[in-house]
């Protein structure tokens, strides 16, 4: 068995990762080709609208991977990952707001529209620096990372686990939602941040920028997936599983369980932040509804549907559920939540390991009886 010496390269030697990356990149190439080179009246043409929709799905997929890392491998059921996603989104939104410059409705060169509307005279200190892309992009990682660090430090140090931890993550995102709803917070209140014009000098409404954002999201998903995979295939990944299954035993082996939890939690929060940051320019708005507890629960449903502790299951789950959501809410908007609930119940009862579990079972069957298949053929 050829095991790589560097932990970060180890995933590339796995068949599942190679397959995942292959499928992802192939899909990105196909979408790009169909978008650019198919005539618009062709049935195969992929419109800019669809490209952006797919980009949004990929953001959700990255978010689901982040949740699977903490839930599947560490056993921490976070019902508040939407908060990290939204914080990353707000960091990006603040950058995009500053890029508007004097093209806003009120034409103020520095202050975003909502601040002029609220009669603010100058930019709050925490908006400083967001006119620079590099600073904003660092904040995309830092803001969710710091929140996760402080929150995780307090929670894990006190050995809060299980359902209690889930409840406080839920409370965390709810509290942030209420805070961001307030106008005085300086994040646009109820309306959030919107009316973005361009990113890094590219017009956000142009098809080329939309395609670029879609491709960037695909690459971010690939990188995020590989990073998670590298963690779970390392010894630290096995220690995480150990913490998940027998916390006390892990402690008596000499591992500091709370630090393992904190490390993985912070990495996961940062990935969620990146997903949020790529989401915002594609949907064109970020508002406090992303903090809503319901959204965080939905993420968990994606992961459960796709299959925990596989990472690719989380991607499959996020893509399928969100595609279904798009289709369903188009046909009968009122029935969607019932459909999602029904789907969740059915999967938990009949496919406890999710769709990924189904795939694994099929592969095992093929491996177990290669002769039997030939015989029937």
């Amino acid at each position: 068995m050829a095991t790589s010496q560097t932990w970060l390269l180890r995933p590339f030697q796995e068949r599942s990762t190679q397959l995942f990356l292959g499928v992802l990149f192939a899909a990105m190439v196909v979408v790009t080709f169909l978008h650019l080179f198919m005539p618009e009246d062709s049935a195969l043409h992929v419109s800019a609208y669809t490209v952006t929709l797919l980009g949004k799905y990929l953001c959700y997929a990255l978010l689901a991977v982040a949740v699977d890392l903490v839930w599947g491998y560490l056993g921490i059921l976070s019902l508040g990952h939407g908060a990290f996603f939204a914080l990353g989104g707000y960091a990006m939104g603040m950058y995009l707001m500053r890029q508007i410059g004097d093209r806003g409705v009120y034409g103020d060169p520095v202050l975003p529209d909502f601040m002029v509307f609220l009669n603010w005279q100058e930019l709050p200190w925490y908006w400083q620096g967001f006119d620079m892309a590099w600073f904003a992009f660092i904040m995309v990682l830092l803001a969710p990372g710091l929140l996760a660090l402080v929150f995780g430090f307090l929670a894990f140090r006190s050995r809060v686990t299980g359902v209690y931890l889930s409840i406080i993550t839920q409370a965390l995102t709810f509290a942030l939602m209420l805070a961001f709803f307030r106008n005085e917070m300086g994040f646009g209140g109820n309306n959030g941040l919107t009316d973005f014009k361009d990113i890094l000098g590219f017009d956000l409404r142009s098809d080329a920028t939309r395609l670029g954002l879609f491709l960037a999201t695909g690459i971010a998903l690939a990188v995020g997936y590989v990073v998670c995979r590298a963690i779970v295939t390392s010894k630290l990944g096995r220690v995480s599983v150990a913490c998940r299954d027998a916390e006390a035993r892990t402690r008596f082996l000499g591992y500091r369980v709370e630090r393992v939890q904190l490390f993985v939690f912070v990495v996961s929060a940062m990935l969620a932040g990146v997903a949020g940051a790529l989401y915002v320019p594609q949907v064109g708005i970020i508002n406090p509804s992303e903090f809503s507890p319901l959204f965080s629960i939905e993420i968990v449903v994606w992961v459960a549907l796709g299959g925990r502790a596989t990472l690719y299951g989380a991607v499959i789950g996020a893509l399928l559920v969100n595609y279904a959501k798009t289709v369903f809410t188009g046909i009968m908007p009122d029935a969607w939540l019932f459909a999602l609930g029904a789907l969740f119940v059915l999967v938990t009862v009949f496919l406890p390991k999710g769709i990924a579990g189904l795939l694994q079972k099929r592969r095992q069957k093929d491996d177990d009886q290669p002769g039997a298949q030939e015989a029937t053929a």
Binding site: W7, S234, A242, R244, R249, V257, R259
Partner: protein
Amino acid sequence: MSIFEQLANRDQVFEFLTPAASPVDVRHGPILYMEDVSVSFDGFKAINSLNLTIDDGELRCIIGPNGAGKTTMMDIITGKTRPDTGSVWFGSRHNLLRMNEPDIATLGIGRKFQKPTVFEALTVFENLELAMAADKRILPTLTAIMTAEYRDRIDEILEMIGLQALRDKPAGILSHGQKQWLEIGMLLMQKPRLLLVDEPVAGMTEQEMERTAELLTSLAGKQSVVVVEHDMGFVRSIARKVTVLHQGSVLAEGTMDQVSNDPDVIKVYLGEEA
């Protein structure tokens, strides 16, 4: 005592001057020293001014009726429970009451739980890998590499506990006795100075018990072993020195013959009317 008085007190080495990673000092004989330890839960005295000394390299059996405080004693030694009073020293240098569970484990105290606790989702090999004495901080663990040397060490232990054939099987499929052995193997991977073994032969067949007895007696001398066990036959087969706990304190101590002829012990084990 004020900090100045403490600093002026010259007949002791200050705690903050002894690094936690310093080697265990057993020049004075005992590897574990518990003095006047008491702990109570909601008024119930689980441990009642317990005094216990384990010598370096000794194999000690601890017996006692249910509720005698055997498991609580292990909890105190491994840092899981803090006693209300008393002191617990590892060697003559390390105050265990000042340390947390991972530090105590790293220092060289390994513990086998009463109910076999292995990581069921991981393979037998991986279970041993995690237990292996190594740098257990986050980044070294993330970048850890399985070298040939480590693999040999794991295989050596696998052979000792007789689980080579199940090397790459998930630990969840092991039988009860095999899990007990795997857990003992994990203890050995930690290269501990002191092993605390809680009911190692529960659920084992006669042959398995014999092999466990062999394994534990072969360890004594190199390591110190403390065995808590209910099975008197097993205790008789391995013990050189036995401590009887009763209601949280030591009732009797000595060889198995001395202890089993002790009138107090007979009274506790056979009931008050005897």
